[in-house]
Structure formats: C-alpha cells, structure tokens
C-alpha cells in the first residue's frame, strides 16, 4: 500500500487460514497414500505421489476459482477471498511436485534432455486417443508458475496493475489446459471414468457459478433511477443501508458506494485502487472503509488512505430528505473532503 513491503502479510486470521490449508493438504495426501497402499499395493511410490498431488491440486484449483463468483453471490464467503493468493501459491507448490515427478519418471531415464523428451517423445498431435497430454500440463504449469512468482504486491506495482491483471487472467487458459490434460491423459492411463466425471462436474460447477454471478452484476447495474433533481438521484431509503456497511449504486456507468457510519452517510467511488476490488462490499473497520479483497483502507469523508499510505478514490455528494437518500453522480477529484449527510434521529426512525 505504499509503505514497506513485507514478505508475507500475515495476521491472525491469515495464519489460521494458512494452517487450515496446510492441515487439509497433509490430511488429503496421507489419506491418499494409505488408501492406495490398501487397495493398490503394487503401485510405486512415485505413481502415488504423482496422483495424490495432481488430484489435490485440482481440488484446490476449483476452490480458488469458485471464490470470486461465490463472494459476489453471497457475502458470507468474503473471508475466503481475503487470502486467496495463498491458496494459489499452495496449489502451485503441490502441482510442481506432480510435474517434476512425472518428468522424472517418464522423461529422465533416456539420454535425451527431459524437456526435449517431454515434447518429442510423443508427437501424435492429430490423435485424440494418443494426444501428448503432458505438453498441455506443462503449459498450465508454466502459467501457474508465472502467477505464483508474481503474487507479491511488489509485482502488482512494478509490472503495472494492467499487465499483472492480464497475466493473472491467464488462469482461465491454464484451467482449460488442465481440463484437457486430465481428460486426454486419463483416456490413456485409466479405464476408470471417475476422474473424468469428477473433472466434468467441477468444470460445470465453475461455469455455472461464473454465469450466475455475472448475470447478477448486470441486473444490479441495470436499475434505472427515475427521480432526479438538481443533479441528485433518489437511490434508496436510509434504512436500506446497515451501520458501517454500504450499498452500491451504478449511476451513469459509474459505480458508487454509499456508506453509513457514525451517524452519517458518505459516498465514494466503488473501485479499490489496489486491484479494483468492490469497496461497497467491504465494511468500516477502525473508522476506515476496508476493501473486502485485500484490506486496503480509505477514510469515508475524503476517500484517502490513512498515512503513510497514498491511495485515493473519488468522493461524491449525498444528501438526506426525510429518510430518502439522494446521491449526486458528479465525481470530485480523488481524495476531496466531503461533509457527508447527517442522519438525524427523525431520519433514522
């Protein structure tokens, strides 16, 4: 946020979150190894490791990609979003084991360079049943690698937010490559269709979640506000907004968050300066509007991050008439102090 960088921005909540991820991974891998030992005792250790890590990574990948749409559908999921990048980096570390051991087991025994072997040992690109599915996994792994090594905020600033965001959108290409890697790979290795079924269910769930969340956003933005006077638009009733929370309104294609805190209403631009997180879905913590995504903070009255931070968002005028909240979509320069609207006892009733 403009102050010194930390290696990992840990706090109590994030530590608990990370311990849970870690415990889940250990438990999963242990269960996988034990079950394989019981049911398929002839498998080699490498094979077990390759399969245990790949399936675990695929589970984590699905969870990670569901968090975004889930939080847009229901705010209860916000705590998951808070630390999403730790999930992503964990996923990469796990799948790196899968990739490395696969290359070791299938490509490092000959005298050809393992990476050359990965691409040249099978060139049946025209065949579905024999497709070199490992190459697909390799490219997915490269994308996850690039995302993991740039997950620190240092990279967000120094690659520029635009480049960073674009790079991280490649996760959807990586996901597609993983689906194909699994589908085409499993046809060759397995007769048991359970992998394919699980993968398909996962993929359909993800697509459905994204579609639901997407249409909800569009519906929200399509509300037409009919009552206007002196540049102000009637947006809602003061009771519709909870204390220390906001409601988001889309006026003239601009999204504005109206916050209720300390007996006043304040309006700020909805878009967080960090990674465009939705400020209107956050809450007021220690007197600051706190972004739900990574916790950047802004003062409600002027949209400025408290020192030493330097981020600023635009502010707007709000006024109250009776219990009606009127909002003016004309933006003030980022960081401009506004008086807000005082909620008198009469309004509140």
């Amino acid at each position: 946020m403009g102050a010194s960088y930390l290696a990992v921005g840990w706090n109590r909540q994030k530590k608990i979150y990370d311990w849970l991820i870690f415990a889940f991974c250990v438990l999963y891998l242990a269960t996988f190894v034990v079950l394989t030992a019981i049911f398929n005792p002839d498998y080699t250790f490498e094979t077990v490791l390759i399969r245990a890590t790949s399936t675990l990574a695929v589970i984590i990948l699905h969870v990670t990609l569901s968090i975004g749409p889930l939080t847009r559908i229901n705010k209860k999921f916000l705590p998951l979003l808070y630390n999403r990048r730790h999930l992503g980096v964990s996923m990469f570390c796990i799948i790196l084991v899968h990739g490395s051991f696969s290359i070791l087991q299938f490509h490092s025994l000959g005298n050809v360079n393992p990476f050359v072997s990965l691409f040249t040992s099978n060139t049946h690109f025209g065949s579905l049943a024999d497709f070199p599915f490992q190459a697909l996994g390799f490219f997915a792994l490269i994308i996850f690698f690039l995302m993991a090594i740039t997950s620190h905020d240092f990279w967000l600033h120094n690659l520029s937010p635009k480049v960073w965001k674009t790079l991280h959108m490649f996760v959807y290409l990586a996901y597609f490559l993983v689906v194909m890697h699994v589908m085409l790979g499993v046809i060759q290795y397995e007769t048991n269709p359970v992998f394919i079924i699980i993968m398909l269910i996962g993929a359909f769930t993800l697509i459905a979640l994204h579609l639901i969340a997407g249409t909800r956003e569009v519906n929200k933005d399509d509300v037409i506000y009919k009552l206007k006077q002196d540049g102000y638009v009637l947006v809602c009733d003061v009771k519709d907004i909870e204390e220390d929370r906001a409601k988001m309104f889309c006026l003239d294609t601009e999204r504005i968050a109206v916050y209720k805190t300390g007996g006043k209403l304040f309006a700020v631009n909805n878009v967080c300066k960090h990674q465009n997180g939705p400020l209107g879905e956050g809450k007021v913590i220690d007197g600051c509007i706190t972004c739900p995504w990574h916790g950047y903070q802004y003062l409600p009255q002027n949209g400025q991050s408290p020192p030493p931070f330097k981020e600023k968002v635009s502010t707007y005028d709000v006024k109250l008439e009776g219990t009606h909240v009127w909002l003016n979509p004309k933006a003030y320069a980022e960081g401009t102090e506004r008086p807000g609207a005082v909620i008198s006892v009469v309004n509140a009733e």
């Binding site: 010194s4 960088y5 930390l6 290696a7 360079n113 050359v116 090594i149 620190h152 990279w155 690659l159």
Partner: protein, 78 residues
C-alpha cells in the same frame, strides 16, 4: 540441432542472464525503482527473486528510467 534444443538453449540463456541481473539488481537497483522496498526485510527480497530472474528485462527498463530521473530532475516536471 533440433528446433526444441534451440528453443531450450535460448530460454536457458535468457534465464542465466536473469540470474546475473538479479544479483546486481538486488544489490543496487531494487531500492531505486520502488520506495516501498526501503525498510523491508530479507524475506521480501528472497520472495521476489524468481520473479526478478524471469521478468528481468522489465525491471531493467524501470531501473534505467529511474536513473535518468535522478540525473535529470528537470524531467520530473515534464
């Protein structure tokens, strides 16, 4: 040499250059391109090493730009 070998050699060369760059950059350039680096610990410096090796060309560009601004402060107002 097959095409694959040539591509692999090129990538290796790029990454070796990245490693050399990263050593010098961590010693001299890092604090110049981003004020947030001042006061950060060694954990932060370690965690960005892989990124420096891969994205070294971008960092080099930023570093050169930062140097120009120090030498020619008039440009800051442009």
């Amino acid at each position: 040499m097959s095409t694959m070998t040539v591509i692999l050699a090129a990538i290796s060369l790029y990454l070796v250059a990245g490693i050399i760059f990263t050593i010098i950059f961590q010693l001299k350039g890092l604090s110049k391109i981003d004020e947030g680096v001042n006061g950060s610990g060694w954990g932060f410096r370690i965690i960005i090493i892989p990124g420096c090796i891969v994205f070294w060309t971008g960092l080099l560009r930023k570093w050169i730009k930062a140097n120009k601004e120090i030498i020619d402060p008039a440009k800051e107002h442009a």
